[in-house]
């Protein structure tokens, strides 16, 4: 009796483990192929799936920047990388700072219209920004921001999901006594937020910063629509797009090397931050 039970248990466990390992394999395999292909020549890749890395990575990498060989001629991978950083870093900072400030105002202070403002922010969380792209282009035209980085950065000041998460965190993790004590010490209200409250919010801010960063870094739609014909302003996802649009000029080694270089920063960051990211995703679901 006992023996059959444990046999059944281990059988089930083995089956589940096999399924999980298969799924992990499925998740990693395309990236493995990507890495292998980045080290091979065009002819090797074109002949079918290869599983063993070659030694042409640096050759491929050089052709990425070689004016005669490169697939994307209007801008370089380096420029795309630089542009993505110029956009993403301030976007992340603005989103976290103003998201926290707004959430702080709604948690700590009592004022007329507070509940209305909060209800409003909650309600607009689900509205996608893609549907108002024509109007956003119009705003950029009026304000002369079309073809600049600004319309990709400034909208981050109003990120309802960040406000939502920061408020959730503050309700349990921010003690009003500390704020009261700082007031008695003569600290200004804005100073209290910057000097006292912000450091207490670090864990929540870190999680939110990762997601804000990734969302901005991976965004293809808005830069495509708002940067106009300024190819020198293109971002990394637009680099992938440019590779796709120039597929007539065949050099698979270079294509895969470019794609690998484009995703490498995110993969490396994920290796270090995966614990926090997985925890952050879990937090997203239990918000109801």
């Amino acid at each position: 009796m006992n023996k059959t039970y444990s046999n059944k248990t281990s059988g089930k466990k083995i089956f589940r483990t096999i399924v999980c390992i298969f799924l992990c394999f499925l998740a990693l395999f395309p990236f493995y192929i990507l890495i292998v292909n980045a080290t091979l020549r065009h002819a090797d890749i074109a002949s079918g799936i290869k599983l063993i890395p070659g030694k042409y990575f640096f050759t491929n990498f050089q052709s990425l920047f070689d004016p005669k060989k490169r697939i994307v001629s209007t801008f370089t991978l380096f420029e795309a990388f630089r542009n993505s950083i110029i956009i993403t870093v301030p976007t992340t900072i603005l989103q976290i700072y103003f998201g926290s400030l707004t959430a702080y105002a709604l948690t700590v202070y009592r004022f007329k219209g507070r509940d209305l403002a909060w209800g409003f922010i909650y309600a607009i969380m689900m509205i996608p920004t893609q549907v108002s792209i024509v109007g956003l282009i119009k705003v950029c035209k009026i304000t002369n921001m079309y073809g600049t980085f600004w319309p990709l950065i400034f909208p981050a000041i109003a990120a309802p999901t960040t406000v939502y998460f920061m408020k959730q965190y503050m309700e349990s993790g921010l003690s009003l006594e500390i704020i009261e004590a700082a007031r008695i010490d003569g600290c200004s209200e804005f100073g209290i937020f910057n000097i006292i409250a912000l450091p207490l919010l670090k864990p929540a801010m870190a999680t939110q910063a990762i997601f804000a960063f990734v969302a901005s870094w991976n965004n293809l739609y808005n830069p495509t629509m708002l940067l106009g014909s300024h190819t020198e302003l293109s971002t990394l996802p637009m680099y992938a797009q440019a590779i796709r649009n120039n597929d007539k000029r065949q050099d698979y080694g270079q294509v895969y090397t470019a794609l690998l270089c484009a995703i490498l920063p995110i993969i490396i960051a994920y290796l270090f931050l995966s614990k926090y990211i997985v925890a952050g995703v879990a937090l997203g679901g239990v918000k109801e």
Partner: protein, 314 residues
């Protein structure tokens, strides 16, 4: 306590100051654009002849001609149908697999080892730039791509490959979406299951309930709000699908449904992009706006259903 309350009232005006930046940015970058898009959808640009000047009239022109009329050729509704099909094809297997894995990972009876590592690996595709993933899969699956090549050599697929075939390209895109998102959904569901009161399971164990019974009698009913939340966020995200189909095959392949030929992978946002791109030959902001308004209304309906569902529960 009452003193405390008085203090917060006194300082209340700072709260108002602090939310001003959010609302200014919201009005400039979200509210005004939305209102303008709605307004623009009522401005119809008509061109009488080849060299005639464009005349703009206020009215339902864009809706009459493009959304419901001949000039639009039903492309919006086809794109909407395709978007929904793409979403269903990835969401149904995604939610089923995620539920199964979440049940396994939280099963106290058969404790699985290494769940932390599985979670990290299965989630990984979700964080990587969708644009690069689409181009990567394009390079796997295009006619000269290595996977296609291998399948052709093995005699599984005919020489013209898969990517230009309507149904195949639809399925591959749905698979990429599924592959990118099931890890995310799984983690959300695991968190949901972990939030269920453990004493319920303990009581069930005492009563001799099997893992399967526990799953269907306790986990599934109590997980309902989170399942609803997952479904709605996924549906809203799915309606805006753009990166993967755009870069995988640009929405070109066709399928025959009844009498009409449908672009099998053109989503609504791809259509909007086509007409909203300034300086392109297809530029028609009125048309793009009308399509945006319809997409907005559909999205709004989906969120309304969700708010109603959660409100009923409360």
């Amino acid at each position: 306590m009452s003193k405390n309350k008085k203090k917060t009232v006194e300082y209340g005006k700072y709260g108002l100051f602090f939310i001003i930046p959010f609302f200014i940015a919201f009005i400039v970058f979200q509210f005004y654009p939305l209102i303008y898009t709605i307004f623009k959808s009522f401005l119809y640009d008509s061109k009488a002849g080849r060299h005639a000047a464009v005349t703009t009239t206020f009215g339902l022109g864009n809706y009459i001609n493009y959304v419901f009329g001949e000039a639009g050729n039903g492309e919006l509704w086809q794109a909407l149908a395709i978007t929904v099909v793409l979403w269903l094809l990835n969401f149904i297997p995604q939610i089923l697999l995620s539920l199964l894995l979440a049940a396994w990972f939280t099963d106290a009876q058969y404790k699985l080892k290494g769940t932390g590592v599985y979670k990290v690996i299965m989630y990984m595709p979700n964080i990587i730039t969708a644009a690069t993933i689409a181009v990567l899969f394009y390079n796997f699956f295009n006619v000269n791509g290595m996977i296609t090549k291998t399948l052709i050599d093995a005699g599984i697929v005919s020489k013209d490959g898969l990517i230009d075939k309507g149904w195949w390209s639809l399925l591959i895109i749905a698979f990429i979406q599924f592959w990118m998102w099931y890890g995310n959904t799984m983690i959300v569901l695991i968190a949901g299951i972990m939030g269920i009161n453990p004493s319920l399971y303990e009581a069930a164990m005492v009563d001799g309930a099997t893992s399967r019974q526990q799953f269907f009698k306790i986990t599934l009913p109590l997980l309902r709000p989170i399942l609803q939340y997952t479904m709605v966020t996924s549906a809203i995200g799915g309606l805006q699908m753009f990166d993967i189909p755009q870069l995988f095959n640009k929405g070109i392949p066709l399928i025959q449904i009844g009498d009409s030929t449908v672009k099998s992978t053109t989503t609504v946002v791809m259509l909007i992009k086509q007409y909203a791109s300034l300086g392109s030959t297809t530029e028609n902001l009125g048309r793009a706006s009308a399509y945006s308004v319809i997409l907005f209304l559909v999205t709004l309906c989906v969120s309304m259903i969700f708010y109603k569902m959660t409100a009923e529960k409360n």
